[in-house]
């Protein structure tokens, strides 16, 4: 065979080499972007987080190796950390509870309306994030129909929604819901409907079929959706600032205040790093659990 097709064997190697080199060239723009806008700021931030106040001029900072910045940042702001964790966690759970049935409906019952329904899911993001959050100020304001109705039922502990933690969690849930729905939809849409039929053919009731077939097969979407909701929600400060009171501030607000108002750059940087580390640890332990049968 080799004797019959000598040309193929000779030309194969250079083509393969050219292809692999093309791959690296394609990486260049992305690598350059990440280098300039991620790696350099990342290092700068880290260096800043270890700076000490200048002995000469107030409000100035000099390069140092002041690890105590981290302890100070954490001790001063641990309630905000915990609150961020709780709010982002709640928002993720609510987004999953709202998003899963919706994604399920679009994927399995959407039919010809699928495309339109997906556009409707994404449509709110066409308007600015800030603008939508301001709109929620109105929706949840004290004399809004929703607040009045819930007060009528005596369901609100503070008799109001705006400027409470409820409003912050509601805002977070609303703002990050599309990022939950889209990966869920992608995972559910891939499931062969015959697998669900096979489940019912093999004595599984609709509920059992969901538990044993649909849910495990949609797990990649659940993991992706919860991460895409939880991570930005954890670092968000707009919702807490516009919808919450000063008692509902999250870690994002602490970082923002330290950078912009107090101009305490080392503390703000240290807070950013602690947040990043916390998210990384949470995400990794979550993904490891998701990789096993624990979540099934």
């Amino acid at each position: 065979m080799a004797a019959v097709l000598p040309s193929g064997g000779v030309s194969a190697t250079p083509v393969a080499q050219r292809r692999s080199r093309t791959g690296y060239f394609l990486l260049l723009p992305g690598m350059a972007w990440l280098g300039i806008f991620f790696a350099i700021p990342f290092i700068t931030l880290f260096v800043t987080s270890l700076q000490a106040p200048s002995p000469d001029a107030a409000g100035q900072f000099v390069p140092a190796f002041q690890v105590s910045n981290y302890a100070e940042a954490f001790l001063n702001y641990w309630p905000q950390f915990v609150r961020s964790l709780v709010y982002a966690g709640l928002a993720t759970i609510f987004a999953l509870l709202i998003g899963y049935p919706l994604a399920y409906f679009i994927a399995f019952r959407g039919g010809k309306w699928r495309g339109l329904l997906l556009v409707l899911v994404v449509a709110p993001t066409f308007a600015s994030f800030l603008l939508r959050t301001y709109a929620w100020q109105t929706i949840l304001s004290d004399n809004s129909p929703i607040t009045q109705f819930l007060n009528f039922l005596h369901l609100l502990p503070d008799e109001r929604i705006l400027n409470t933690g409820i409003a912050v969690v509601a805002g977070l849930t609303y703002n990050f819901l599309p990022f939950m729905i889209l990966p869920l939809y992608a995972a559910l849409e891939k499931i062969d409907p015959r697998l669900i039929e096979a489940g019912s053919d093999l004595y599984a009731s609709p509920v059992t079929t969901f538990r044993k077939v649909t849910w495990p097969l949609s797990l990649p979407g659940v993991v992706a959706g919860t991460l895409l909701t939880f991570i930005p929600a954890m670092g968000d400060y707009i919702n807490a600032q516009l919808l919450g009171s000063t008692g509902d501030r999250m870690i994002g607000n602490a970082i923002q205040v330290n950078f912009i108002q107090f101009r305490d750059y080392p503390i703000a940087s240290a807070l950013s790093f602690i947040l990043m580390a916390a998210i990384l640890v949470l995400v990794f332990s979550y993904i490891r659990r998701a990789g096993t049968e624990d979540l099934v």
């Binding site: 062969d192 015959r194 697998l195 039929e197 096979a198 489940g199 019912s200 053919d201 093999l202 004595y203 599984a204 009731s205 059992t208 079929t209 044993k212 077939v213 495990p216 097969l217």
Partner: protein, 362 residues
């Protein structure tokens, strides 16, 4: 052997909007038989199967096993299991858990014994801990059969189970499935568009067309004596010559067509009036050189012609022969002759036994 009951379809109809997929179908499938429902795509065979499985609700009619009406039962309540067309194995479970799925859902705790013996039956014991994606098509097919059969269904439904396999593997699996069916004695209802597969495997074949069963019987019986034009052409090939009944003497019917005369036994005639289609299977026709025409046995039907095409297929040779009235007839001949075969342009005479002739309603 446990008691099994016949599967009965009673005036079963399924419409999708304007379209009637299954049209007033009544049918009894005897317990323990291997029943094949064969037809072109869109003839309603898969819809029939899905109604029996409970995956589709009939528009009207009833489905019974013995005397039990299962029409209103949900799929997961029926004593019926399905081998799906693309197997539909659960990709997140290994082979063992796929096979154990039905038992576990019915709350059976001790699945080890049944699963292992079922995996042995389909010769997949060593594969138990593999995922479906790590198996070949033929192995996946066997898992699908094992996953359904382990539940000891009263009826096993097979929806084009061999469609995704290549020809050689398909032949092998046909024999395998037949062996399993004989071993377990469950009623198998097999839906396929492959008429050869249906005939090879089934005890009973039903040919379906436009939502109705055209003809049903033993494979050889249906093949040898098709009762409708659709069956004659769908189940194998047929040569069809249109003519008119010229007379009948007792048990024989005489037909004149295009100036030639044909005879066929009266009980092989399905035409009700004078207009008739005379049919014969290509392999029943013998070809003779025109100079040897005196050797045609006297009672045989015969037609003169000219060879227009010769295709050698290994086991047999297929000839196209043009009749004096311009129709092309097909002739299959076993390649067991010594000497020259007929060539294109040769004048020939085709003849076949009266008993191989059949008459159809035009």
């Amino acid at each position: 052997m446990r008691q099994v009951d016949d599967l009965r379809l009673d005036h079963l109809t399924k419409s999708f909007g304007e379209m009637t997929a299954v049209d007033d179908l009544s049918l009894t499938i005897p317990a323990g038989s291997f029943f094949a429902l064969v037809g072109a795509s869109g003839c309603g065979k898969t819809t029939t199967l899905r109604m029996v499985a409970g995956l589709e609700d009939p528009t009207s009619g009833r489905i019974l096993i013995g005397d039990r009406d299962i029409t209103g039962m949900r799929a997961y309540q029926r004593p019926v299991n399905t081998v799906f067309q693309s197997y539909a194995l659960f990709p997140h479970l290994d082979i063992y858990e796929n096979v154990a799925f039905g038992l576990r859902r019915r709350g059976i705790k001790d699945v080890k014994g049944p699963v292992e013996s079922m995996l042995d039956l389909v010769e997949l014991g060593p594969m138990a801990r593999r995922k479906p994606s790590q198996l070949s098509g033929g192995q996946q097919q066997r898992v699908a059969v094992a996953r359904a059969l382990i539940n000891e269904p009263e009826v096993l439904l097979l929806d084009e189970p061999l469609g995704a396999l290549d020809l050689k593997l398909r032949r092998q699996m046909q024999i395998e499935l037949k062996r399993i069916q004989t071993e377990v004695g469950t009623t198998f209802v097999h839906v396929t568009h492959d008429q050869e597969e249906a005939m090879t495997m089934a005890d009973t074949v039903a040919v379906m067309n436009a939502g109705r069963i055209e003809q049903m019987g033993y494979p050889a019986e249906v093949y040898e004596l098709p009762r409708t034009l659709f069956v004659a052409n769908f189940l194998g090939q047929s040569n069809i010559i249109s003519g008119a009944v010229a007379g009948s003497d007792g048990s024989m019917v005489t037909v004149s067509a295009h100036g030639a005369a044909f005879r066929l036994p009266g009980d092989r005639n399905s035409a009700s009036g004078a207009a008739i289609l005379v049919g014969v299977r290509p392999e029943k026709v013998t070809l003779l050189d025109a100079v040897d025409s005196a050797r045609v046995p006297a009672p045989h039907n015969r037609v003169d012609g000219t060879v227009t095409d010769v295709s050698y297929t290994g086991v047999s040779t297929q000839y196209l022969v043009r009749t004096p009235w311009g129709q092309e007839l097909t002739v299959f001949e076993q390649n067991d002759i010594v000497g020259d075969r007929a060539a294109v342009g040769d004048p020939v005479v085709m003849h076949w036994a009266v008993e191989h002739t059949f008459g159809l309603e035009p």
